[in-house]
């Protein structure tokens, strides 16, 4: 999971390094185990990166009138050579060094010939910034402006808004944007329809204040919660969402059912994402760090607990356990996505099938492990209904993938 950012000043008096730094913090919910910034100035490229989230990246004392940034898990990025700096969200079947050289020589051809599923931002040493959004629309990319001074490319609007910029529009799938001092131009390089927006990005990864994939994420998640009630009417006393992603689902379920919504948890520390955490220790400890249940909200109540997804089930097991230990009478689990049963070939770090509980065990067994009173997953049709169309990549739920690039 990845966030990418590019900031371009039309006047070289600007130093954009802090725009990159703070903009990247606005994208760290997309993945944060590694982050980096690269700027272009009088003396070429500078780079700062570390195996830390953007907010912990030592504030780099960098100068440059233009630059790119990366937050995610792939330590290759920002990939910086003498000729250019590159960040990619997604997967590409190419030698990255060769691809970067091709991008410098002829970006249109390089992107046209590259196999994979990726959005990218490339900044050449000559001061040309190129952005591209993957032709299926699986990966997002948006463009914004800051006064008369800057152009900003960002995975999500949050990377633009945090520095006071204004979102202008989404880059269309298959569209390349070319920015230099004297112009901005667009060109559709590939056309692949229907578009296949990433369901996990919509249901889980995007920030709730984002507008991506032509959708207002918050509204969609509330609708998914309402759809869950249409599909599974649970008799309960309180609806609780696992923070932060699942809260809008719980709000939707509560609205439609009339059962009160309550904050069941408070947080310790920063927003550690358990689905993204890579080692088992963090997965076990992670849930405790993330969530401390609020006793009075659950004691003696039949709790309807909504979570955004279930991967290994371990997080959920811990959550149900702590609700019960605080006196919940019943715990009914609703998952606001269809079952995740397959690894993602496009760069979302979903574990292998053998680690996915839903692809290995029947519901009865899962219920036993989670120790819930009932469990239900959103249906695929329900997902389409809530979103309003089925131009979605649901590969990790259906094993039917829109593009074979490998």
């Amino acid at each position: 999971m990845t966030g990418i950012l590019g900031v371009y000043a039309f006047d070289k008096v600007w130093n954009v390094s802090k725009f990159l730094y703070y903009g990247l913090i606005g994208l760290q919910h997309r993945g944060y185990s590694y982050s980096g910034i690269s700027t272009l100035g009088d003396r070429g490229f500078s780079k700062a990166s570390a195996s830390l989230p953007p907010e912990d990246l030592p504030l780099p004392d960098m100068k440059g009138w233009s630059g790119i940034a990366y937050t995610g898990y792939d330590k290759v990025y920002p990939y910086v050579t003498e000729e250019g700096a590159l960040v990619i969200d997604g997967v590409i079947k190419a030698d990255i060094g060769e691809f970067s050289r091709e991008l410098y020589r002829d970006p249109e051809r390089a992107i046209g010939e590259a196999e994979g599923v990726f959005s990218l931002i490339f900044l050449s040493k000559d001061g040309v910034m190129v952005g591209y959004r993957d032709e299926l629309g699986i990966k997002p990319l948006e463009i914004g402006g800051f006064g008369f001074d800057l152009a900003i490319l960002s995975s999500e609007a949050s990377g633009i808004a945090v520095v006071g910029g204004e979102l202008k529009r989404e880059i269309e799938p298959g569209e390349m944007v070319y920015i230099d001092t004297y112009s901005i131009s667009y060109k559709r390089l590939k056309d692949s329809r229907p578009h296949k927006y990433c369901s996990i990005d919509i249901l889980y990864q995007s920030r709730i204040d984002s507008h991506v994939f032509n959708l207002d994420i918050y509204d969609i998640r509330v609708k998914v919660g309402e759809q869950l009630y249409e599909e599974k009417k649970v008799d309960g006393d309180v609806v609780i969402g696992v923070p932060d992603t699942a809260i809008p689902y719980a709000i939707g379920y509560s609205r439609r059912s009339g059962i009160p919504f309550s904050l069941g948890f408070t947080r310790t520390g920063s927003t550690i994402r358990t689905m993204l955490a890579s080692d088992d220790f963090i997965k076990v400890i992670g849930v405790q760090l993330k969530l401390n249940p609020i006793k009075s909200a659950v004691r003696g109540k039949r709790v309807i607990l909504i979570d955004d997804s279930m991967v290994t089930g371990r997080t959920l097991k811990n959550t149900v356990f702590s609700l019960r230990s605080l006196g919940a009478k019943e715990v009914h689990v609703l998952i606001a996505s269809p079952k995740i049963v397959a690894r993602c070939p496009y760069g979302i770090p979903i574990p292998d099938e053998r680690e996915l509980i839903a692809s290995n065990l029947p519901d009865k067994e899962i219920l036993k492990i989670i120790d819930a009173d009932s469990i239900y997953w959103l249906s695929l049709e329900g997902l389409f209904k809530a979103i309003g169309h089925n131009y979605l990549c649901t590969g990790c739920m259906t094993k039917s993938f829109p593009k074979r690039w490998w």
């Binding site: 008096v13 529009r169 004297y182």
Partner: protein, 479 residues
């Protein structure tokens, strides 16, 4: 036959020339321009006038041409000749003219003069402001009031880019300081007067322009228009004179309602009256309010033009069905009360085409050849106005600014935009051309933006605090 002398050389003057040249009064159109604008040249030729090439800001030059032509009236297009007293010169020679005297043109030339006037006469839509003589004083004030301020040069500096430094989070203050220092430095070098820097409270909302014609006795509002200032696609990039405009349907824009129009008209009208009281001369010409719908006031003045906006003129003038050339004469001669404006209900879209390099590098944008299939463009139903492009021999050479403007009037914005974009494909050059595809396609976003500020200013109004705002800092106190 009556003779009219038109001063100026851009697309706006081309639109004015066309209105004069097609008037039922059968005016003979004479032009004074700094180069041979092919569009104005066509009108001058057709009406049997004469094309003078010379310095449009020189009083002596204008006097010489007036003596030679002996026009019945004059029309001044751009602001610089107004600042240089060209309208005064017409009147000294006894020639009625569209355009205020240099004292009246202060409303555009000096933003400090403009703001002081608005406060002195308690004109609604005024923003709080401060002005400073030195960069240091201005910077100190900016740092004191970390809130939202807009930094502007106190004087009109010939269309040079003005950097509005947006308010960003406190943690960006360091970056902000550096950027302000640079922009303040570059502005200060351009301004000659004592007062160098104007700081205003920063506001946000959709922008629009209201032009009001006046002969000092009566007032005639024209339909609203909206200019688009960013140079590049999607409203990103450096500030320009304007890369395109929209106007209509009717007198309004889809995001400005009748009540807001009426209020805007009131503001511009009482400003014209205030100027007259202040300089003790009639304001005869066009006063255009460059306005914004803000949460503080609703209709708010960002700045004033003492003339037509360009490209707004190209969006508005073709929509006027009555004899606009005749209206200009009535204005100049003090008979505006007899004029009637009939407006095409349908909306218009105008887009400018500029050579690569505009607006940052004039040399890069100059001396490029440009070709257009004029008969085909006209056959398709688009109008073409020539701007910064000179007829030299048989070819058209760019002069470094916006070269051509294309206009379409259609039943709705969607169709008008499509037509303009199609006509653009019939224009080519030996350099890359800047053209904004997004203009006219963001109406819904403008409507949403307007609705957001409308909630706030209506609430202020209901509570009786319309226009009241303040800032406070521990050291600087209340501002």
């Amino acid at each position: 036959m009556k003779k009219v002398l038109l001063v100026g050389d851009g697309a706006r003057e081309n639109a004015l020339a066309e209105a004069l040249g097609s008037s039922e009064e059968g005016y003979v159109v004479y032009s004074l321009s700094s180069y041979r604008n092919p569009g104005i040249n066509e009108v001058v030729g057709k009406t049997g006038g004469r094309y003078f090439i010379g310095d449009i800001n020189s009083v002596e030059e204008v006097r010489r041409v007036i003596k030679e032509v002996n026009p019945d009236f004059g029309v001044i297009g751009p602001e610089d000749p107004l600042f240089h007293g060209i309208a005064d010169e017409f009147r000294k020679e006894g020639i009625p003219v569209v355009g205020p005297n240099s004292e009246g043109a202060m409303i555009e030339k000096s933003k400090v003069w403009m703001r002081e006037l608005m406060w002195k006469y308690s004109i609604p839509g005024r923003l709080r402001f401060k002005y400073f003589n030195t960069i240091e004083e201005a910077a100190k004030f900016i740092l004191e009031y970390g809130g939202s301020v807009a930094v502007k040069p106190a004087e009109q500096v010939g269309g040079k880019g003005v950097k509005v430094v947006a308010d960003i989070q406190a943690y960006l203050s360091d970056e902000k300081r550096r950027a302000i220092t640079t922009s303040v430095g570059s502005i200060a070098n351009l301004v000659k007067g004592d007062v160098k820097i104007l700081i205003e409270e920063k506001v946000d909302g959709p922008e629009y322009t209201l032009h009001v014609l006046t002969d000092g006795k009566s007032y005639l509002p024209l339909p609203l228009a909206q200019d688009n200032k960013n140079a590049y696609e999607d409203g990103i990039g450096p500030e320009t004179g304007g890369m395109g405009a929209i106007s209509g349907p009717g007198y309004l824009l889809p995001f400005i309602d009748q009540e807001e129009f009426t209020r805007s008209y009131e503001i511009v009208k009482i400003t014209a009256e205030a100027i007259e009281r202040e300089v003790k001369q009639s304001y005869i010409g066009i006063l255009s309010g460059q306005m914004m719908l803000t949460s503080i006031w609703g209709p708010t003045i960002i700045e004033y033009y003492a003339r037509f906006g360009d490209p707004e003129a190209s969006a508005i003038i073709p929509r006027i069905k009555s004899d606009f050339g005749k209206i200009l004469e009535l204005l100049a001669t003090g008979h505006l009360s007899r004029a009637k404006v009939e407006v095409d209900e349908r909306p218009s879209v105008v887009k400018a085409i500029a050579p690569l390099g505009y607006p940052l590098d004039k040399n890069k944008a100059s001396n490029h050849r440009i070709w257009l299939d004029l008969p085909k463009i006209r056959e398709m139903g688009c109008k073409v106005y020539f701007g910064s492009v000179a007829l030299e021999g048989n070819s058209l050479l760019t002069k470094g600014s916006r070269a051509v403007e294309i206009v379409a009037i259609e039943d709705d914005y969607g169709r008008a935009v499509e037509k303009v974009d199609k006509c653009f494909s019939l224009i080519s050059s030996d350099t890359k051309l800047l053209f904004r595809h997004d203009i006219g396609r963001t109406i819904d976003q403008q409507i949403e933006k307007a609705q957001i500020v409308r909630y706030s200013y209506k609430r202020r109004e209901a509570r009786g605090i319309l226009g009241i705002s303040a800032d406070w800092s521990p050291n600087g106190g209340l501002w």
